[in-house]
Amino acid sequence: MTLDNEQIERYSRQILLREVGGKGQEKLLASRVLLVGAGGLGSPAALYLAAAGVGTLGLIDGDRVDRTNLQRQIAHFTPDIGTPKVESAAAKLAALNPGVKIETYTEHATADNILEIAGRYDFVIDGTDNFSAKFLINDACYFAERPFSHAGILRFDGQLLTVLPGRTACYRCLFGGPPPAGAVPSCSQAGVLGSMAGVIGCLQATEALKCLLGAGELLTDRMLIFEALALRFREVKLRRNPRCPLCGENPTITTLVEADPVVCDLREARR
């Protein structure tokens, strides 16, 4: 693939970067990133990845746009209320950069679909809101051997971790398994500042771009903790846990199974 004049112009500000250059830009255009969840985290991540010219973006989300989403899910606009999130987001991405191919999956990630879908992409972004999905993505990326970015946001806090499955600490190395439904507060119960999704989602996009370009050091074996009220970024050093049920020495999880659909959202749990 060689860049045409329009592409050179569009991507000029990042082609200028030594870590990108024409070769890196071509690499991005040939790359595929999957966004699981087209909401708070997925919106900014997808917009920046499309702007950067990641050639193919996959969006998987079974939800429709709700008025309560608009405070932080910036790919969705007021007239989109009621529209499937993947369609709403795909329209914005296409308008931003028609050179990017968008693949949409209007369904939730499950043990039946995610392994196969994730396997079609080079990098996966976890932009989901519930813990069964977060563990499912962690496990699917392990079995599909795909690098991914985990993130979570709540109130004024955020957390971020990049995982190279089988090589660096995974989400289960830290947390083992999901908490029971309703045990841990969710954004819809405890609230979240909208810009938290922007900060953390943009960091996820940055990790995806670095991984695709092979630039710099990924946020592996360390969890980034962002505390907005103090405006403080902290890092917690991690290492692979030999007792991890997935990537440890005696794994108990050997195939992809979904935990009981544990949602961190009580409203959802009652549905």
């Binding site: 969840g37 087209a38 909401g39 708070g40 985290l41 997925g42 989300d61 939800d63 989403n69 999130k85 976890d126 932009g127 989901t128 809101d129 519930n130 813990f131 977060k134 993130a151 979570g152 946001i153 709540l154 806090d157 955020g158 957390q159 190395c173 830290l174 947390f175 083992g176 908490p179 045990a183 841990v184 969710s186 954004c187 819809s188 979240v192 938290m196 999704a197 953390i200 969890m223 903790i225 403080r232 902290r234 917690v236 050093k237 991690l238 290492r239 846990n241 007792r243 961190c264 959202d265 959802e268």
Partner: protein, 69 residues
């Protein structure tokens, strides 16, 4: 004795266990918090018997969802 909890310097008593520290630090749902002591993730079952040494670095890691909905 002086320890570091989530990046902050904390004064606590000698011999305190991880379980007691979770209470002392008013952690709301200690059963769903992962604890890293001096760089090592602890098994939950060991919290009551694990004594926090002087000068320790302790991290409470919380479940954080957020994102789509």
């Amino acid at each position: 004795m002086q320890i570091t909890v989530n990046g902050k310097s904390v004064q606590t008593r000698e011999g305190i266990t991880v379980t007691e520290l979770l209470v002392e630090q008013k952690v709301k749902t200690p059963e769903y918090v992962s604890v890293e002591l001096n760089g090592e993730i602890l098994d939950r079952e060991t919290f009551p018997a694990t004594v926090v040494p002087d000068g320790a670095t302790v991290e409470f890691l919380y479940f954080m969802g957020g994102g789509a909905r």
